[in-house]
């Protein structure tokens, strides 16, 4: 009688919120979660590793890797049973990235700023509680600790670019966003709520936001909102630089004017 049917489906923690949501296509979400497991640090993953990261049983992972490989989103790697992302994942983003025609135009200004700050300079958009880079320029000397590049994401609350986004929102948007951060990322919110409040106050005076190693120790960043795309999304510019810990006091005075000048240049080319 202890009917085996009681085996509860091992729901990955990430989708707990959708339990009982008949509208939510679990299989689709789980499959996409496979693709999300890969990182620059772990570009090749085995079935067992994917199973561990997603919380799915091995046979399920196996079926997904089979399907995703067939569609080009994964590529089998040697030794057998290991997978890398396939070039097809880039083609998913193409229609979106092609709609950002301004990227070509503003690159020189961003490259110049990247050289000036000896770091990386990016344009980002919001995705739920994250900022996603849609364009990135790096100075030749950038330490390759974590490579900034198109598609990189950072939590809004913990970063200068995220705080600048909040600052650039309308009051209504801002209220909704802050609430979303509080509810959906309580841990990050607890850590950074104070810095966020402070950043918003500072923004009113100075026109930019900062992060002094909030995401990663020793990495300092500045950011400022630029304007709205035709699709109404808010575009934000940042400049990130390591190695200012020894002269922290010089960081803002030196770089903030450069950032703001670049932002204005970009905004000008925008409306033009």
């Amino acid at each position: 009688m202890p009917r085996r049917s009681a085996v509860p489906r091992r729901v990955p923690a990430a989708f707990a919120e959708h339990a009982g949501d008949r509208q939510f296509a679990t299989t689709l979400a789980r499959g996409l979660e496979i693709l999300r497991c890969f990182t620059p640090q772990q570009p090749v993953l085995s079935t067992a590793e994917l199973a561990q990261r997603t919380g799915l049983p091995k046979p399920t992972v196996s079926r997904f890797t089979y399907t995703l490989s067939g569609m080009g989103y994964l590529q089998p790697d040697l030794p057998a049973g290991r997978y890398r992302l396939g070039p097809a994942v880039l083609s998913l983003g193409y229609p979106l990235i092609a709609s950002f025609a301004f990227r070509q135009v503003v690159r020189p200004a961003m490259e110049a700023l990247a050289r000036q700050v000896s770091g990386s300079v990016s344009l980002g958009l919001r995705d739920r509680t994250n900022m996603v880079y849609v364009e990135t320029c790096r100075s030749a000397a950038t330490s390759s600790f974590q490579l900034s590049d198109i598609g990189m994401t950072h939590p809004i609350a913990a970063t200068a670019i995220g705080r600048a986004h909040i600052a650039g929102c309308s009051p209504a948007e801002r209220a909704a966003l802050l609430n979303e951060l509080r509810v959906k990322t309580p841990e990050l919110w607890r850590q950074h709520a104070a810095s966020v409040t402070q950043a918003l106050a500072a923004f009113r005076d100075k026109g930019y936001c900062v992060s002094y190693g909030d995401l990663r120790p020793g990495i300092y960043a500045l950011a400022t909102p630029i304007g709205r795309l035709p699709s109404r999304e808010l575009l934000v510019l940042n400049a990130v630089s390591p190695s200012w810990t020894r002269r922290a006091a010089q960081f803002e005075p030196t770089l903030a004017p450069l950032l703001l000048r670049c932002a204005h240049a970009i905004a000008a080319q925008f409306t033009a």
Copy 2:
């Protein structure tokens, strides 16, 4: 008594080949097919349009858009019931694009070539029967007919970059690839088989491949293979330019040396 159960699941043509394949996760594949419907020309799609393009019934599409929106891959657009790609689609490609560190290094050489040819210059990798751009540079004056950019795909058989890929393959790889093209894209193969054969012969003499408007009338292109990435994938360089129809005879003599010089420069930085 005409039991309704006979209702055959309306299988989208794209997955006909997987009918009865228990290993293939149809729901995942269908959901991803939704994302593939978007193009630069049609960046916003309604439920009805998605249903039409995928061949799926409206309620199914609705469930997928709900799921994909929740995950950030789609963004609801106004008026209600319309969708755009969300920034999260870019984050799927990040781990892959970050692994192409060479992009930063070779950009200047590519930009120079793009200016020289008054067109676009790209680096591409193979995805099944297509080439996918992993980096693109455009001259300022590029006619924006179809915007080359990261993630853009082109069929192998119909393009210079695809033919150059074939030329750069080992004999065993080439045999397998040509067979795959014949089987999986019979229509394209029929149209371009002769040009492919010709291109391979020409490659042995000259070291590059051409396409004189094979994909789109009036668009001429050159391409040459560069070398293997650490992951063993073959990297290929192309240069595309419109507006040479009036001086077709000048196209190759003028641009081919520039392309080859750029390719060698890139290859050098590679092995270094």
